[in-house]
Amino acid sequence: MKLPAFPRNAVLFLFNFLKSHARAIRLTVLLLALGLSGYVFYLDVTIREAFEGRKFALPARVYGRALEVYPGLKLTPEQFLEEIKTVGYHENPEPNEPATYRHTLEGFEFTSRDFVFGDGLQKAQPLRIGFAEGRVTLLQERDKEDADLALLRLEPPLIGGIYPGHNEDRALLRLDQVPKPLIDALVSIEDRKFYTHWGIDPRGIARALYKTLSGQRIEGGSTLTQQLVKNFFLTSERTLTRKGTEVLMAMLLEMHYGKDEILETYLNEIFLGQDATRAIHGFGLASHFYFDRPLERLELQELATLVGMVKGPTVYDPRKKPELVLQRRNIVLQEMVKLNAITQAQFVEARQKPLGVIHRPPSGTSPYPAFLQLVHRQLQRDYREEDLRSEGLRIFTTLDPRVQRHAELALAGRLKQIEKARRMDANTLEGAVVVSSTQNGELLALVGGREARYAGFNRAVDAMRPIGSLAKPIVYLSALENPDSYTLLTPLDDSPLVWKQPGTTDWKPQNYDKKFHDQVPLRTALAHSYNVSTARLGIELGIDNVLDKLPLYGIERRPPSFASSLLGAFELSPVEVAQLYQTFADGGFRTPLRAIREVVDVEGKPLQRYPLNVEPVAAAAPVYLLTHALQGVVREGTAQGLVNWLPAELNAAGKTGTTDDLRDSWFAGYTGDRVAVVWVGRDDNLPSGLTGSSGAMTVWGEMMKNLDPEPLQPAVPEDIELAHIDPVSGLRYDRECAATVAIPFVRGSEPDVTESCPGALTDILTTFGDMIARPEEKPGEKTEDKPEPKPEPEKKNWIQRLLD
């Protein structure tokens, strides 16, 4: 913003007029006085507007999920400690102040903080928590009564903000959040008379004026108020005119606002560095930018460093000129001793400490840029950008920092190991991870790349990649929805296939092992991800009939009506795949994935809730069968390798996906409590050399192993019947035999009971069955080729048939 020029020749004019035109002078004086007051009025309006604008431009604050703690919760003391440290608790032998804790024999004593949730204020409470065998065993209020507490909602971690201004990033602080030594240091070095002057320091100005007029360098002598005014208008112009305007504005500011208001705004406004295109404003953000910690956790010498930089953050850049900044820091400390703001002992101790500035600044203010970006995009649908950046909205999201951390670690760790083991160049592989909660569709973690801290291409949301075999469950579910025609045992034809469509070249799908498998039971074809039988099945069902189901499962993008689409020759982002598998995991209920739970305004009043929505889009029984088949993928199919990470009892369901020339490696799967999708590949789309099981699946396994997932035990729909089937013959037995496995059927579609359990044959069948149970080791074996042909389905219900 440009300010009008100060009328510099006013004095000269006055003098001349005084000499000759007495009457005219009076008129002129009047006019000038009018003009001047008009000008002052203009300045007053301008500066107040600027000040109010800054004062009330509150960024939206984004919080992760609040941890709900209750007796019985699976939580270790270490995990609890990590959680409360993330939200800024300090250790204190007397943990009676909010946000303090101390260790006890069984757990911790701590005091929570006041926090305004969407449903109102939760008061600070002195509490006690105890743990045993990986669970919370005790939760008590710590007072005279020591009453048991049923539930505690911890304060949620702040995971980022949506900031005002043009690339002006800041983490706003209230004055009471600012450590006193910082203010002491600031006043000591920059403006000792801050609390007594009225905006300007006449002696400082006189000194500055003298030096400037006498031809020495132009000098500051600015009060904090003047510096604040200067910061508002961001011009580097240094003239007397500007100085005059600045002085006037500073005095006007002091007339309208109290010292505390001015100081608070100053602390949030002052320019403290530059990060590429992003300007670092205010001590709150500078603290993260230079020390990667919130301001309240900085030590004395670190606070002094920041204050020292106020003089000129471009010159005093601790990353470029550490020695200069160290010198400056010690001058600040010295001034503080002089004014008795710190003791001599504190001074000596602080002066000896190193600078401690982190080498590489964190990018942005959120440690979870990918998740934050998704939140921001969802909010943009419902809010104006300027409101998001200035209205101080508080956004409660679903991010679970623990899940997020394990997702990040697994991705970065596995990719590094894979590159090493396969002698690839370092950092050639990239990846993305999406984790959601099975029953309510909340996004728990979102990793947009292996360097999860750095905002960049968000692969979880924006990388569109062919999904390969991850599409197969759509085909199989379509089949299983017709129990009269298809069961898990229905033989599929895996012999060579040529598909002709006018206008396209003939399509001849191949299996990954380059072999054909003749007749294979449906569940086996999915377990081993056979392309040919799946394509033939999809063609039989009708390509459009299959692909038309996609919108039901939350996938809006319609793949082309080619047979190759049945095998996943269409692109989706990892988060879309997660949406697809969410419906399978949730028994046929589609729950739109959600990252935001609630938005409240600056006073804590709820503005908008994003409630849980469910919609039954697929019948429970076929989805149950599909899950059973996907559990088979993990138990005996392409994802058998997961056993290296996860116990078999987990019964996880999943599907590997690999695309042409090994460009994309996918794994999508679910446990009792979480759905997760992993993509691994290269940004330049060159072959990565990885299959779904050698790449993405290992990331999935590594992550899940550390998340201690719940076993997958889907609710059994009422129209599901378990039958004891001999996998060799396909025959059903009347009870469990050594050679049988329990296979679910939609009631009425199970094979008729044909035999009672063969006693003597058991051993032989077991041996034989074992050979069959792992056909992938002998893909050429003919053993599975002739299962019992399925009896022609009858069009009567099972009771009628029984009574026939």
Partner: protein, 174 residues
């Protein structure tokens, strides 16, 4: 042999079906006050009354019970959004608790969100196992929601389903 076996299996299965007592389930148990109410009168169209269901033991987890209490207080005070938030919190703790899904369904019904009420009731049914009281409660929600949606035939069917669940002896298979 085959036929004989078939008959035997059929007979035993049917015997099983017919002898299911009204309260064969184990948990959650119902307090004495929860007498099965077979006399469901469908409310007049456009007049949705969501009478409180008799309160069974919906959870043994005190945290969940606390949240349920809070939700019911909020709901009674007309703060339905807040009640929904508390129920969702409870569901995060016990995502497979069919009673909680039913509570949420009834809340949406009271809010006039009929489609969601039906969906949530179906979700509750999917976790309800063989609990006739709970199944019936869900069918009643579906019935009332269908009334709200103007689907009187669908509503009637749902109410009938609810009745049958509570009076299995009056609905012989043969």
């Amino acid at each position: 042999m085959k036929r004989f076996l078939l008959f035997f299996v059929a007979a035993s299965l049917l015997a099983g079906c017919a002898s299911v007592p009204p309260q064969a389930s184990t948990t959650p148990t119902l307090p004495d006050t929860a007498t099965p109410d077979g006399m469901i009168v469908p409310p007049a169209e456009g007049d949705i009354v969501v009478e409180p269901e008799p309160r069974p033991v919906m959870s043994v987890n005190r945290a969940v019970v606390a949240l349920l209490d809070r939700a019911q207080l909020d709901s009674a005070a007309g703060k339905r959004e807040a009640a929904g938030a508390s129920l969702e919190r409870a569901l995060r703790i016990e995502p497979r608790n069919a009673w909680l899904w039913n509570e949420l369904a009834r809340l949406r019904l009271a809010q006039g969100q009929y489609a969601q009420a039906v969906s949530l009731a179906k979700k509750s049914i999917s976790f309800a196992g063989g609990e006739p009281q709970l199944l019936a409660a869900n069918w009643r929600v579906i019935g009332k929601a269908r009334v709200g949606q103007g689907d009187s035939a669908g509503a009637e069917q749902a109410f009938r389903q609810a009745d049958e669940l509570l009076q299995p002896e009056t609905t012989p298979l043969f």
